[in-house]
Symmetry: C2
Subunit: 196 residues, 2 copies
DNA sequence: GTCTATAGATGGATAGAC
DNA sequence: GTCTATCCATCTATAGAC
């Protein structure tokens, strides 16, 4: 007797988040109306407010959930087995996310401007954690003599920008397989840090 | 008797474009109102329509003018003196633009979604020209044995994404000079294509 | 849980006075 | 050339019927 038969609460909520993610990624947060999201789900605009306090929260939670999942996965992937392998795992993990969660990845770095001040601070904290995780791999590798570069901060930002750019050209079912794309980017990253 | 004294036509027009560029870059095209732009300039919303047919045209012309200027400058900078030098010039030129025209660079790859269909096609054409110019340098270099990489298209996109990412962290008057930033990125690019 | 209806605010763009 | 005033569309969010 867990749920009412005929109830859609467990279906509509996730559907709203999925629709918001798709539409925000496609047209941008500010250009999407609650009516559009509702239409995509198949309900009226008013019904959305049963599942979220508003549009801003919808955006914030999409970004937060994605970044937390990404952080956890990167943390798992780059377990302690040497800077070269850790860098490899980090890159493949991020690139792989473009295959699995394309829109979420896109939102997380395109819609920062549209977060309220306090939500921005929270999301920025998660992003910073993510950047720091990569930078720590680089610094460790340099100290151990696996990598060679001048400025760890700039290289970190260059790597992350390069990864974020995957969304611009990558299309599912294109000429390159997931594994090929991951390998090309991992290779570029190794070159950038002069991995031995 | 060239111009009416007291007239501001030659001042207000450019001021509107500058204000639009700043505000669009800061808050996003869709989140900025004509009233905000007018307030920044010091006129009323209605006055803006004396200088542009509308908001969409304002965005389009900002992007077009920037891309045309960038294309011309890149074309001049990378005159025919070998792939390694051409790549160098291309990278330094693009990075340098983040110092001179920060907001314009940002707009040109952040606001594609908000262009009308026909404006998008025109801007996309200019972007494609820019990408092709870089890819040609890479392909030439590979053929001549200066560069070594697998996939010229992916490397091109990776390089452009890396360059575009400068805006995320770069601030005027930061710890790195213009020349240092240009050199770091040129160095990263040479590593990515295994320049000899 | 979802609907219709609507409040209340704000948007782009235009008309006409000065 | 700029202003005030305004039209009309659309927006987020809420109230209340079912």
């Amino acid at each position: 007797m867990a749920r009412k038969s005929g109830s859609r609460a467990d279906v509509t909520g996730p559907a709203i988040r999925r629709a918001a993610e798709t539409l925000f990624a496609k047209h941008g947060y500010a250009a999407v109306s609650m009516r559009q999201i509702a239409a995509e789900v198949g309900v009226r605009a008013g019904a959305i407010y049963l599942y979220t306090p508003g549009k801003q929260t919808l955006l914030f939670e999409l970004m937060r959930d994605h970044l937390e999942a990404l952080l956890e996965e990167v943390g798992r992937a780059s377990a302690d087995d040497g800077p070269v392998n850790e860098l490899n795992a980090f890159i493949r993990c991020h690139v792989g996310y473009h295959f699995d969660r394309r829109d979420a990845v896109f939102l997380a770095y395109m819609e920062l401007r549209n977060l309220s001040a306090e939500n921005f601070a929270l999301i920025e904290g998660l992003r910073r954690k993510y950047e720091d995780q990569l930078e720590r791999i680089l610094v460790d590798g340099k100290r151990e003599g696996c990598f060679a570069f001048e400025d760890s901060r700039v290289v970190t930002m260059a790597l992350i920008a390069m990864l974020a750019g995957v969304h611009v050209w990558f299309r599912d079912g294109g000429r390159l397989s997931r594994n090929e794309v991951e390998e090309i980017y991992a290779d570029l990253a190794r070159r950038m840090v002069a991995a031995t």
